[in-house]
């Protein structure tokens, strides 16, 4: 009973909100990207990540990773355990990113060496684990790093998307601009194109499937293609769960050595 009532209430509020949004002038580019940035992604997440890297010759490497993420007001903590290939099994990777803008802290544990090492990475446009994704692409780039503009609307899979053009503020960016297709009101990106200074597309992100799990939108299959290098990386997310009961001790050097038994 109560639940039903709540649901109805929620839908009324939602309709009112949508009406309000529609009534108000269209959102600015900055606002859209802020929505995307602050979209609920759950307090924490656990998933099994399959990363397939394909090089320009069509050869592939597949990695299977168990990943846990925890968010709090200080920032984000992530731990990843390699499950495959076998020669890197139990290698783990821990990262802390801070809300106050400090550089990330990253550690890697190499079981063959039985040591945890810090990995320095100052550059947000560094490749994420040797893939075609950068750390920025994995969602840590703050909207204030670019100027944004909604340039048009388009429909993808029957969903109305705002096409946002973002121009980096930094001096020598790798990409001169990006175009992102953001589903209106869900604030989830379905497509992204990265333009080189010469105006050509350098790489593009395509989303093949996404779903709402535990009330959180999650992209479960995406492929980043580097047009320039003719390589691509596909990331599939399996067994995604949100808002689990994860202890802080999961995100420690000790856990890195223990492995994915949580």
């Amino acid at each position: 009973m109560k639940n039903k009532h709540l649901k109805r209430m929620a839908s009324i509020v939602a309709i009112a909100l949508i009406a309000l949004v529609s009534l108000s002038a269209a959102l600015s580019g900055e606002e859209v990207m802020q929505e995307v940035y602050t979209r609920d992604s759950g307090n924490n997440m656990s998933a099994n990540l399959v990363m397939t890297l394909t090089n320009s010759r069509g050869s592939t490497r597949e990695r299977s990773i168990q990943q846990y993420r925890q968010n709090d007001s200080d920032g984000e903590k992530k731990i990843m355990f390699f499950l495959a290939p076998s020669d890197v099994k139990n290698t783990s990777f821990l990262s802390y990113s801070y809300a106050d803008g400090r550089s990330d802290d990253q550690w890697i544990y190499l079981p063959a060496l039985n040591r945890v090492k810090r990995v320095a990475s100052d550059k947000k446009n560094d490749s994420f684990m040797g893939s075609d994704f950068t750390y920025d692409d994995m969602g840590t780039r703050h909207p204030s790093a670019d100027t944004h503009k909604v340039i048009r609307t388009e429909t993808i899979d029957g969903r109305k998307c705002l096409v946002v053009e973002s121009i980096p503020k930094e001096a020598k960016p790798t990409y001169a601009k990006t175009l992102a297709w953001v589903v209106e009101n869900e604030w989830i990106g379905l497509k992204k194109e990265f333009y080189l200074p010469n105006g050509k597309v350098g790489k593009k992100l395509e989303i093949d499937s996404y779903e709402k799990t535990d009330g959180v939108w999650v992209i479960t299959d995406m492929t980043m293609s580097n047009v320039d290098k003719n390589s691509s990386t596909r990331i599939q997310m399996l067994d995604v769960t949100f808002n689990n009961d994860l202890k802080d001790s999961v995100f420690t050097e000790r856990q890195m050595k223990i492995g994915p038994r949580i």
């Binding site: 020669d87 890197v88 079981p111 810090r118």
Partner: protein
């Protein structure tokens, strides 16, 4: 015969035909000529060694690089120099379309694998140029600590560093090296900048060789004109001679360009050959005309022209045919430009023959019978006591001639064993030329200006993560590094050793191949995490089934490359035990394979041309003994040619090997003229001794005149500033001299011996002569 004599009577027609052909060729050359100097265009791309190399080059992105050296008088670790390095690194791809973005490696971009306070990082040595003394000192310390950079990209004494730019293989090296030298100059002060690397050497060579030839060639022609005039004392015959050789050259190049075939560097030898050969036709025609006049001063124009043609058509035709076929033997070569060279040199020779047979009779019809000139060298020959004395000496000292010849053969044979095969671009420059000095400088300060890639391939995925395999690679690198010609080596193990060192707090005991496959895999994963994963693609493929070891060499000589390859191949059994095959790649390796292919082809075709010449002579004279005798001077000339090369240290290269085919082309002409003349005289009833004397004074003189004119002309090349052109000049002089000398000595002795044994003249005639002794002298 009728064709030539009727044609010769129509000077206007000759002129029209000549002018038409000439303008056609000049037009063809002017509009179609395309000079190809890029060595890659020469290579038979379907040859397995090239295909394998190309595949590996593609897989590992192996490209020729240019090296920009920045040298500072004291140390490169100062803000100004470091800033300059960074600016050049960024500027190069913008200034040169041959250099792609991201293909420039310098201290400002090179990955530095380090560890400070437990941090592991892979990043450039600097992104913001250090300004304070502390920062500069820290940078210097980090370079010194990294053996992947120290001594390779930065000299051990810190005074010089390299900016390495990979260039597009399709680019034009000649134009690039010019622009790069200017570019480098614009950045000088207080630093000095040098440009080195294979594309630079290749580019300068492609520019210098033809440039020098363009200066030297008119001098060669000028000298030859002067000599011909002094020898012949006839403006008319000197002019005709020069028309023949120049037209022959134009004919060869004209037909080539009209057929749309590009001009290759090796084609610079075509005029050299055609001049040496064409002059002979002219001199023999001149000689025959003047002899005829002396024998019978009252001939009419028509009688003179007809009788000279009748006498000379056979020997000139035969000489041209044998020479042309000798050149066509080069068409067996696997190398396309050499095949074309053979074909078009043959076409040039035939055109020279046709011209010689038309122009000389035509000059008689047009200008009348040449007047005798008292001072002319040729006119002296009636009495020519020297020549007759030469004949007597020869006849009296046949044994001595044989002994001396045998000694020459032995000496030549000994020298020939010392011949070494070498193709080096750098050897073409004077040791004190800027390009050679830069090369020496770079080789002293860094790993080396040339490189060789060793490619290891296996069927099994992950092979190159196995410590045993990596250890074998490291052993190979260590072993080859002991060779003074090997400067630096670079492979997957270089990365892994540096990482192992860094991960063990720079404890030198850990600068080794990691001990387990897991550790290797984890290091590689770590490298991918923190560095630029593409760097690894230059040393190993995605599946870890193929690996690339780069060896930097301090010499581009094919002999050095050959010895390093032989050393590397000693490791083949070790790798085979891991299921790994060893092969080689890179432009240096391809040049090495190419030069040996080229050489093999030239030696085969040289041998083949001996056989063809012997067969043709046998057919023409209907006597196998004559056929064999005719090749003796050529064969000895070739032996002496190689012998001298061995003794005076001229390496056998594609250019020098080609020169020995001049020996065949010219030597066979001398033999034919001599054999023909001697046979004719004997058939006319001369005794052996009379025939010998007459042949020496008649044909011998023509041979000597020809040799002197050509030798004198090409001797000019010995004063060239370009060493390969000097070698060409010296070897032509040697071959001409030997051909002439041997024809006039040992061939005469052999002819006399064969004749004495009744093996020289055809059987029928011998019988005829027996019955009808000593009559019928003309």
């Amino acid at each position: 015969m009728r064709f030539f004599s009727s044609f010769a009577k129509k000077p206007i027609l000759i002129l029209v035909v000549l002018v038409t052909l000439l303008s056609l060729f000049v037009f063809g050359i002017a509009t179609n000529a395309k000079l190809v100097t890029d060595l890659n265009k020469y290579m038979p791309s379907t040859h397995p060694a090239f295909m394998a190399s190309d595949e590996a080059e593609e897989l590992f992105n192996i490209q020729d690089s240019i090296l920009l050296v920045v040298e500072h008088p004291t140390s490169i670790y100062n803000t100004g120099t470091l800033e300059k390095i960074q600016r050049i690194t960024e500027d190069l791809p913008r200034q040169f379309e041959e250099i792609a973005e991201g293909k420039v490696t310098s201290l400002a971009t090179a990955d530095n694998i380090t560890s400070y306070d437990g941090d592991m990082e892979v990043q450039p040595f600097y992104t913001d140029v250090p300004t304070t003394d502390e920062e500069l000192a820290a940078l210097e310390a980090s370079v010194k600590a990294n053996s992947m950079i120290n001594g390779r990209n930065v000299s051990f004494d810190s005074t010089a560093t390299l900016i390495i730019a990979e260039i597009d293989p399709e680019s034009d090296a000649t134009s690039l090296q010019k622009r790069l030298l200017e570019y480098a100059k614009s950045w000088e002060g207080p630093e000095r900048l040098y440009v080195a690397g294979r594309p630079i050497v290749e580019g300068s060579l492609a520019e210098l060789g033809p440039k020098d030839m363009a200066i030297m060639f008119p001098l060669v022609i000028l000298f030859m004109i002067i000599l011909l005039y002094l020898l012949l004392r006839s403006v008319r015959d000197t002019t005709i001679n020069m028309i023949i050789v120049l037209f022959g050259t134009l004919f060869a190049f004209g037909t080539k360009t009209l057929l749309g075939i590009p001009i290759y560097a090796v084609d610079t030898m075509i005029p050299v050959m055609l001049i040496a050969i064409g002059v002979a036709y002219g001199i023999h025609m001149h000689n025959a005309i003047h002899h005829r006049i002396q024998d019978n001063p009252n001939l009419t124009r028509d009688q003179l022209a007809q009788s000279v043609l009748k006498e000379m058509i056979r020997p000139i035709f035969m000489t041209a045919l044998t020479t042309a076929i000798g050149f066509m033997a080069l068409m067996t070569s696997e190398v396309l430009p050499v095949r074309y060279f053979g074909l078009f040199a043959a076409i040039g020779v035939i055109s020279e023959m046709v011209l010689a047979l038309i122009l000389f009779p035509a000059s008689i019809y047009l200008f009348g019978i040449p007047k005798k000139k008292a001072k002319g060298l040729v006119t002296k020959q009636v009495k020519a006591p020297k020549q007759n004395r030469w004949a007597s000496i020869l006849m009296d000292h046949q044994r001595t001639v044989i002994v001396i010849t045998v000694l020459i053969i032995l000496l030549g044979g000994y020298g020939a064993t010392k011949v070494w095969i070498d193709t080096s671009f750098l050897a073409n420059f004077e040791p004190d030329s800027p390009i050679a000095l830069t090369d020496v400088f770079v080789n002293q300060k860094f790993g080396g200006t040339s490189s060789l890639n060793i490619i290891l391939s296996s069927e099994d995925e992950g092979t190159f993560k196995e410590p045993a395999v990596l250890q074998a690679m490291d052993d190979l690198q260590t072993r080859l590094s002991q060779d003074p010609m090997v400067g630096a080596t670079f492979s997957l193990t270089t990365f892994l050793k540096q990482m192992n060192l860094v991960m063990h707090e720079n404890d030198a005991a850990f600068e080794t191949v990691p001990e387990s496959r897991e550790l290797v895999a984890q290091y590689l994963l770590l490298y991918e995490f923190s560095g630029d994963p593409e760097t690894l693609e230059k040393v190993v493929d995605y599946d870890y089934t193929k690996a690339n070891i780069t060896f930097q060499l301090k010499s581009d000589s094919s002999a050095v490359l050959g010895s390093i390859i032989a050393l590397a191949e000693e490791a083949a059994p070790t790798f085979a035990s891991h299921g790994i095959e060893i092969s080689f790649a890179g432009s240096g390796y391809k040049a090495f394979v190419f030069s040996s292919l080229l050489l093999k082809g030239q030696i085969i075709s040289l041998g083949l041309s001996f056989i063809i010449v012997a067969l043709l002579l046998t057919l023409l004279f209907k006597n196998i003994w004559v056929g064999l005798a005719g090749t003796v001077p050529i064969a000895i000339t070739a032996v002496v040619n190689f012998g001298v090369m061995g003794l005076v240290n001229i390496p056998l290269s594609s250019a020098t090997a080609l020169i020995s085919s001049i020996a065949v082309g010219i030597g066979v002409d001398y033999s034919i003229h001599l054999l023909e003349h001697y046979t004719n005289r004997r058939l006319k009833g001369f005794s052996r001794e009379e025939a010998t004397r007459e042949t020496i004074s008649h044909t011998g003189r023509a041979i000597i005149l020809n040799a002197i004119a050509v030798m004198g002309g090409f001797a000019v090349l010995m004063f060239s500033v370009f060493p390969p052109n000097r070698q060409v000049g010296a070897l032509i002089v040697l071959n001409m001299a030997m051909s002439a000398l041997l024809t006039l000595t040992i061939l005469i002795v052999i002819i006399n011996y064969l004749d004495k044994k009744n093996r020289f003249l055809p059987k029928k005639i011998q019988q005829l002569q027996l019955t009808d002794t000593g009559v019928n002298k003309v």
